[in-house]
Subunit: 132 residues, 4 copies
């Protein structure tokens, strides 16, 4: 049974701010990964375990849109969803907002599905099942 | 009433690992800051509010000892304590361990106490009170 | 006179690797910024000076495609180009490759042009000139 | 022949600033590593090659003192020196300053010397020689 949408909370760290007083732009990709990690755990397949099962998800594409500011110690919520992108790739849709609902950033990441040697593999049933 | 020791949990992010397979060494200082932030919040003086009250805590010294590995998605606990260091500085003692108790890193940070213009100030009573 | 394409070299830092042994994905956005900084400097308008002139370039969109691995201490070259995107936005095109030519990552960033208060402004002539 | 003191230049990246407008404190440890990498390369033993030779230098202790601010795009110089610390450990002394000479941060890192399995080894002659 997949988590329809996984929701994860985090607080903006001081190390994640920049001199404009908001979060530095690359942090969005780090928070996207926090969302993916949480989605996978809730789907019953923690990423660390995926390696053991012989499936890795290297990133092939990432897209971010920036909607608003987030300051140090602000509490944010990451909403993550996942589905197959064609027959061989996996796509995560991620939205980050303040807990008040005000949007911060959103986007997606596309991942190849490969084995431990980096060769593309047919998506394992347990992974496809987690997305449906 | 001060928090005798503040305890904070976090999970190691993929972005915090390095090619040795454990956390990259500078993350310890970022986690120390997570501990300080949490200590201050529990002491009733969130750092964001300190600025409003006219007191900042720039770092003047940091020390870290590395005891063991921590891998991606491992759950860690940060234990933070604070006290005055002499009459003009504040010192945080921080220990990071696995939730099983196995040690990861420990150390301290020393902070000046300054106003919005960066001038040293006498430690405000509300800050000293939080430490005792 | 604009730099048609700015070229910048950097070496992959240990802090930029992750446990897969290549660079962590968000570093691409940090390297994109290294490219932008260098493009602006070569165009005669260092970003720090732009603030003084009353123009800031907050990021509104970022896109990255990942082509290949880059390991610790590998030397990379960032090629950056810039042009207007419509009448009100600026777009940087960025490609990162090994000095052997092998591709690492490429993409673009789109920026609003705002004043010190965050209000959109008409692109200043000195900025438009730098792109042509 | 060892590099008596290795000197390395870098520019502060936007991603390395924080909302105080100076570099975030953990960047000092990342810059220390840039200094170590450069020292080792100049000593003829690039770190990547050390792994091949069967010697790794995991960090066991780090100390930083913060002396002054460094802003986005400031050019800094890292001066690095290395020597044995007792019979089994290596110590790097590192100082970071503006190119004007104004100090930014200084400190040291202490490293164990281990083989690929993480077991302490006797310091190889080629490493000891590089320090003298």
């Amino acid at each position: 049974m997949p988590p329809e949408k996984s929701k994860t909370k985090l607080r903006v760290r001081y190390s994640e701010t920049d001199q404009m007083g908001t979060f530095y732009n690359s942090r969005a990709l780090e928070w996207f990964e926090v969302g993916r990690t949480d989605w996978l755990r809730k789907a019953g397949i923690p990423y660390a375990e995926m390696e053991t099962r012989g499936a890795l998800l290297p990133l092939v594409e990432a897209h971010v849109e920036y909607h608003g500011r987030a300051r140090y110690d602000d509490e944010l919520e990451i909403v993550t969803n996942a589905h197959m992108a064609g027959k061989a790739r996996m796509r995560f849709e991620i939205a980050i907002a303040h807990i008040t609902g005000e949007r911060v950033a959103s986007g997606y990441t596309v991942h190849a599905i490969v084995n431990g040697e980096g060769k593309p593999i047919r998506p394992p049933a347990w992974l496809v099942d987690a997305m449906e």
